[in-house]
């Protein structure tokens, strides 16, 4: 970090109770306290949120696109995990 460049933070906003925090974008701030405040000003100007998380971008470990196949393909061949896999006769309710 140069003397004046503040680190980058990722911002996650819970838009209303019952929903999980969703990535909203990023911003710069000198520290976590200011990051939270900047996030409130920037990403909830139109009352878009009830709760905010800020995470230093450098603290995020992401799956690499190269690992895409081993990470995600095994799940793709398990269609039985999805409800639409099962055929239910018309008219049967509450399933």
């Amino acid at each position: 970090m140069s003397a004046s460049e503040w680190p980058l933070w990722e911002v996650f906003v819970r838009s209303r109770r019952g929903l999980s925090h969703t990535h909203a974008g990023s911003l710069h701030a000198p520290d976590a306290e200011m990051a939270l405040r900047n996030a409130r000003d920037l990403y909830t100007r139109r009352s878009e949120g009830v709760s905010i998380w800020v995470v230093p971008s450098s603290a995020i470990t992401a799956s690499s696109p190269d690992e895409k196949d081993p990470f995600f393909e095994p799940a793709a061949d398990k269609p039985y995990r999805h409800p639409t896999f099962y055929e239910i006769p018309d008219g049967v309710k509450h399933l």
Partner: protein
């Protein structure tokens, strides 16, 4: 051995390139950590940075009237709008940073003239009506340009644009409403509105960029789905939208050649003064120096503030991180 390595690398690169092309062709989004051609990345950085810079420089002509807004309602609207522009600049810088460009570096390039911003902001806001004309015409042109960008192939850019377009819907309407109040007001107010439209109309048409046959980057950007429609196509769409809106305002557009062409199903309009466009782009517009000087000054005068906060954070790291998540 060396040869084999190179071969397998280039085979890998080809596979990546194919995957990229296939994703773009299938209208899927490219995400930050995906492989992408160097030129695609460079084109995006150039365009997104320019877009972010335009939001930030674009604050100035309107902020010029915050302290003089003629009613408290208008003052609040204008403050909120200029604030949104700062916010939109931030969304766009943040999206650009996903491509590995740092904000400091982007700002440096803006301040040193190595990256551009929209030329429209090199025109002055001389009267209050200019605030209305910017909202109606400049934001109108920007929205025409931006709505297709919500489907741009680069995910972070597309997402930023969705947010921006949603928030910007009030910008154009407030400008139109402002002009309508002037147009229906006293004779002096009406004249003020007409004068502003006369001055902003042609520069607004220039916002769509040079004609298609002269546009340097258009064709490739279209192929990559960074851009969805050609400059001339969007310009025509904008003119067609504005003509009835001007009528409803009771104002005229300053173009004697403007008329409906039944055959084309569009309005014909007069020739654009591309020499003026090129000159303003070259730095010879009425406000080029003023805009960059103010931006640079704000940045330089703010340096001690940014340094202070960084110094404080360095001293208090433990406490700040301990308290951070509430």
């Amino acid at each position: 051995m060396v040869a084999t390595v190179v071969e397998s690398e280039s085979a890998g690169a080809e596979a990546y390139a194919e995957a990229f092309d296939a994703a773009v062709a299938a209208d899927e989004r490219i995400e930050p950590r995906d492989w992408m051609p160097g030129d695609y990345r460079a084109t995006l950085v150039r365009q997104m940075a320019q877009h972010a810079h335009s939001e930030i420089i674009g604050m100035q002509p309107e902020a010029n009237w915050i302290t003089r807004a003629p009613s408290l309602r208008r003052k609040a609207i204008l403050m909120a709008k200029v604030q949104d522009e700062a916010g939109h600049g931030l969304y766009l810088y943040s999206a650009t940073e996903t491509l590995g460009a740092s904000r400091d570096d982007l700002l440096d390039k803006l301040h040193s003239g190595r990256q551009k911003y929209s030329s429209i902001f090199n025109y002055p806001t001389l009267t209050w009506a200019d605030v209305g004309a910017i909202g109606w015409l400049v934001d109108g042109a920007a929205i025409t340009n931006q709505v297709p960008l919500c489907r741009c192939s680069y995910g972070p850019y597309a997402r930023a644009m969705v947010r921006i377009c949603k928030e910007e819907s009030f910008h154009q309407r407030q400008g139109y409403e402002l002009l309508l109040a002037l147009s229906r007001g006293t004779d002096a107010q009406h004249a003020m509105a007409q004068d502003a439209v006369d001055r902003w109309w042609w520069p607004s048409l220039m916002m769509f960029g040079p004609p298609d046959d002269e546009s340097a980057h258009s064709a490739r950007s279209m192929a990559w789905k960074i851009k969805r429609h050609s400059n001339d196509e969007l310009r025509q769409r904008f003119v067609d939208i504005c003509v009835p809106q001007a009528e409803a305002l009771g104002l005229t557009l300053p173009d004697p050649d403007l008329r409906w062409n039944e055959e084309r199903g569009h309005h014909d309009f007069g020739p654009i003064d591309w020499e003026e466009f090129r000159e303003v782009l070259r730095g010879n517009g009425p406000c080029n120096d003023q805009r960059i000087t103010q931006r640079r000054q704000a940045h330089e005068e703010g340096a001690w503030v940014r340094e202070a906060a960084a110094a404080y954070a360095a001293k208090h790291t433990d406490r700040l991180h301990g308290e951070a998540t509430a």
